[in-house]
Every structure is written in C-alpha cells, then in structure tokens.
C-alpha cells in the first residue's frame, strides 16, 4: 500500500494523462470494427451507398427482426451445444480429478499420465481421423457428434487443474467425513466441490467460450441448417444475405451479443479466473 502511494506521487500528472490517452486510442482502435459494424447494421441500401462508415438517420431497426429470425435458431443451437458440453466436461472432469487426487489405487499413475499426456496431442493430429470416426458412428448431423468429442477433449484441462486443487485440500476434512459415515460420492459432493466452486466456475466459463467460438468441428459435422451453431450459422447467413448489408451486419451484431451480455455480468469471475491460479506455467 505504501509503495502504491509512492508510485502515485512519483508519477507526474502529465505522464499519467499521456498513458490514459494512449490506452484510450488503443481501445478505440480495438473497438472501431465493432462500432462500424453497429453503424452499418442500421442502414438501408441507399444509406449504405452514400455514407458507409458513419452513423446515419433514420435508424433502420427493421434489419434486426429479419436477421433475428435466422440467427435466433443458431444461437439456440449454440446454447444447447455449449451447455451440454460444459455439463459433460464438469461431470467427467471433476469425478476423475477427484479420483486421481484423493484415492490410491493400482494403476493410478498410468491413468494419470494417460490422461495428462493428451494435453500434448494437438487437435490438428486427430482432426481428420476424428471426422472419419464420427462419420462411421453415424453422428454426422447430430448434436452428439459435437457433444461427445467436445467433452472428451474439454475434460483434460479441467482434470489437470482440479487434480492439483483437490489434492491440496487437507485430508482431515475427508477423514472426519468418513468417520461420520459419508460415502465417497458424498465427500466429493459436500466437501471437494463446494471448496473449489470458484475454480470450477472459471473452468466452466473457459470451456463455454471455447465451444461457442469453435468453427472447424461444427463445419465438418453439421451440414443441416437447423442444427448449425452460431459460428457456422453466421457463415451460412453471410451467403444468404450477401449485399444486403444492413441485415447482414445486424446478424453480425446479434452473433456478437449473447456472450458479451453474459460477460457484462460475469466479467469479474472471468477476469479473476484468467489471472489467478488456472493459467500458470
């Protein structure tokens, strides 16, 4: 605290203002594509032809219902997919992390390395064979074709992070629960999980973000329009409304919004999660 004050007094006001100006310029440059996107989403064709990159009036709100009609389905699909994935990832991930952290059993180290070494296997190696596998299993154009591989891949990082965390919980807590007659599942549910709530929530946010933004795998697995997720839906939408710029950009805005709104409410969780614990070398 003392140092903080010293630093403050040491920094001349001029320097401070300069830093704020530079940061503000960077922020504007980072956001202007999205601002222009917002401007264009309110334009009709003649406004687009005459003043493409500025805000023009009247605002054509009617672009939004047209875009929404198509995009809402993709958003719903993405919600299904990322919710299903994150639930699966958390169930498999927490249970396995718990087993690896709290039990001693024959083959423990084998299983541990078998799971953790998958972090070294990049998606690029398995992409094509996974596609063939999913096709053989008849999962093309089904939600399971997305869910199962996503859960299989997503749980690894969760196990990696939570195993260390669960192992750091003092054994006494579990011992006293055992004396009270708690089963393994109960100690897991009533001791390990509540203590790691924050970590689990962070991992869930990261997982949802990854699934929501994925393009390649849904592009391979899903070809039916009614199952498309938001990313590949947007690509399809793009070819549907090509040259109808107002509607097209309204669609872009709609695609950008769901997680942005969620972020507004969970930014603390998200930011703290990224900066504490979970991501370290």
């Amino acid at each position: 605290m003392k140092v903080l004050k010293e630093g403050e007094s040491e920094m001349k006001d001029k320097a401070k203002i300069l830093v704020i100006v530079v940061l503000a310029i960077l922020a504007v440059l980072t956001f202007y594509p999205f601002v222009i996107m917002l401007f264009i989403s309110f334009k009709d064709i003649s406004q687009f032809d005459h003043a493409r990159f500025t805000l023009t009036f009247p605002l054509h709100w009617e672009n939004y219902p047209i875009a929404w009609k198509q995009m809402s389905r993709y958003i719903l699909n993405s919600i299904y997919i990322s919710t299903g994935t994150v639930i699966g990832v958390l169930i498999c991930g927490t249970l396995t992390a718990y087993a690896l952290a709290r039990f001693n059993f024959p083959g423990k180290m084998f299983f541990y390395y078998a799971i953790i070494s998958l972090m070294m296997i990049p998606g690029i190696l398995t992409l094509i064979p996974s596609f063939v596998l999913v096709w053989y299993l008849g999962l093309i154009n089904t939600r399971w074709g997305l869910w199962l591989p996503y859960i299989a891949g997503g749980q690894i990082f969760v196990i990696f992070v939570l195993r260390t965390f669960f192992a750091s919980i003092p054994e006494d807590l579990f011992e006293s629960a055992r004396i009270d007659g708690a089963s393994e599942l109960q100690s897991f549910w009533h001791i390990a999980l509540p203590l790691s709530e924050h970590m689990v929530a962070t991992l869930a946010v990261l997982n949802i973000l990854g699934t929501w933004n994925d393009i390649i795998w849904p592009l391979l697995v899903i070809t039916r329009d009614e199952l498309r997720t938001i990313t590949i839906g947007l690509l399809a939408f793009q070819s549907m409304y090509v040259t109808q710029w107002g509607i097209l950009f309204a669609g872009y805005v709609i695609a950008a919004l769901p997680l942005l709104i969620a972020f507004m409410f969970t930014s603390r969780l998200f930011i703290e999660g990224l900066t504490s614990g979970a991501i370290k070398m």
Binding site: P33, F34, M37, A152, F188, L209, A256, S267, I271, T275
Partner: protein, 305 residues
C-alpha cells in the same frame, strides 16, 4: 505358482476395494479411448495408407511422406507458416505487454479496471464476427481501406485478392493486436511482483524504462515464454482465419500446412495424405513444446509466495 496367484488375487482384491476410483474415472476413460486415443493412433496408422476414409485403404509405406517433400503447395505453405509464426511470436510479446504495462503504471484501480474490461470484452465476441468485418474492410469495391485510399487520391488495391499482399493483409488484421487474454496474463504477472523489489529500485533511482527491462521483464519471463509458445503452436495448428478469409488463395499465397491438410482430407478425399501432414505437424509441435519445457529456462524466475 501359488504366490503368483496370491499376488494376482490380492491385486484384484485391491482393485475391488478401490472400485469407486475406477467408477469415477469410467466416463473419462471411455470418452478419451474413443475420441482421443483411437483418432490419434488412426492418424499415425493411416499416414502409411492411401485412404479415402470410406474403404479400408491400401498400404503404401512411406509414400505419403515422400509426396510431402515434393509437394510444391506444402513447401510454399511452410514458408507462409514460418512468417505467420514469427509474426505471432512478436505480437505476443509486444502489444499485450505494452498495454498491460500501461494499465499497471496507472496505479489507479478505477481507470485500470475500466481499460482492463474494455480490452478483455472483445475476447467473448466470436472471432468469426471480427473476421467478417475485416473481410468487408478489405473489399476491393466497397471496403474501408479502398475508401480511405480514394480520399487520399491513391489507386485502389485488391487486398486479399492480390497474391503479393494477401498474406500481409492477414497479418495486419486485428490491428492494434491487443489480445485481451494475453494482456490479462501479463497484468497478473506484473501485479504479482512483490512491492519490496520496486522499493529497492526506487531507492536506486532507476527510471521507468530501466525498471521495465531490469525487473518487469525478467520477473514475468514465465508468462512471456508461455504466451510465445502458445502463439507459435497456434500458428502451426490454426487455419480457421485462412479458411474464412482466403481459403489459402489467391493461388496458394496464404496457404498454411494445416489448411492444406484440411483441404486434402475433406475436399480431395486424400485422408491418408492428410494424416501424414497431421502427424508431421504433431511432431513439430511436440518437439517445440519439449524443447521449451526442457531447455529454455528463464534467467531469473521469481520464487516465492
């Protein structure tokens, strides 16, 4: 004999006693067996086959790997990848670190938090949205960049359609390249530097720039290393940007090995050849990660709470 069967029995008993552990891990084991290990082995196995994915395939030995060495598209794509990889590495240690330093310098919790929020928010917007807007910026007839050139009285460019500059257009995309997640990781690193260290330097009368190179950089070397290696691995694996913006074109001006693998597998049904490219990329990534964790140690890593 007897003792052997005894140990076998006691092992089985031990396994039975710990059945919960296996039961807890069962979903994970089934899933990674099917969707992680099987495809990984399949990739290695089928890289020695001429395979279309539908029929069993024909064993052709090292033929796919020999084809790779002589594939002009693949060779061109490797040089593109190396350019993008170096660029990605440079971006990882410049703009996000610069921004994090500035936010850290501010020392003002409120202003700092506002900027932190602003730079992290774009992370949750699907990257495809940003790319499509940038593709529109590069549009030769109605795009932003040609409009600006028009105002300046300069001749229009075809940007992504010009094989000489398409790759640079992809590199410029995302300007000013402040990656919110990397920025956060640096910022956390800076905030974790114990204040006593700054104290001692203030006494020594070091200015801000000396402090940056003498204290900040060495103490966040872990974060710098992590973000460089992630950027490099990302450039080797990633091809979504190319797929959406240029599909590797015009010609093969923006082709990267990962996209070439994807196209061979999905568009040309040359799954065996695609697997061989995938295996090669895996080996490169594996070696880089191994070298990074084994040999590149940061000079002064801060140890402590």
């Amino acid at each position: 004999m007897l003792s052997q069967s005894n140990t076998k029995k006691s092992l089985l008993r031990e396994v039975w006693k710990k059945k919960y552990a296996y039961l807890f891990m069962l979903p994970t084991i089934i899933l990674i067996g099917i969707f992680s290990y099987y495809p990984a082995f399949s990739a290695f196995y089928h890289s020695f086959f001429q395979w279309n994915g539908y029929t069993p395939g024909v064993y052709i030995g090292w033929e796919n790997y020999k084809t790779m060495v002589q594939d002009p598209v693949l060779i061109k794509s490797i040089s593109n990848m190396i350019i993008l990889l170096i660029w990605g590495g440079i971006l990882a240690v410049t703009m996000p670190l610069f921004t994090a330093e500035m936010i850290f310098w501010l020392k003002s919790k409120k202003t700092g938090d506002i900027f932190r929020f602003l730079f992290v928010a774009p992370v949750v917007i699907p990257s495809v949205v940003g790319w499509l807007v940038w593709r529109f910026f590069y549009d030769p007839t109605i795009g932003l960049f040609n409009t600006i050139l028009g105002w300046l009285g300069l001749p229009p460019q075809t940007w992504l359609g010009d094989p000489n500059i398409a790759l640079y257009c992809l590199m410029f995309l995302g300007f000013p390249w402040v990656n919110g997640v990397s920025m956060l990781i640096y910022l956390a690193g800076l905030q974790n530097i114990p204040s006593e260290i700054f104290d001692s330097v203030i006494v020594d009368g070091a200015n801000r720039f000396t402090r940056f190179f003498k204290i900040d950089v060495p103490l966040i070397m872990g974060q710098i290393k992590l973000l460089i290696i992630l950027a490099v691995i990302g450039s080797i694996q990633g091809f979504t940007l190319q797929l959406i913006m240029t599909n590797g074109g015009p010609g093969y001006a923006t082709m990267v090995p990962a996209l070439w693998m994807y196209l061979n597998g999905v568009a040309f049904q040359k799954m065996g050849y695609a697997c061989a490219i995938g295996v090669s990329l895996f080996i490169v990534i594996f070696l880089l990660t191994y070298i990074n964790t084994k040999y590149i140690r940061s000079g002064t890593e801060y140890e402590g709470s």
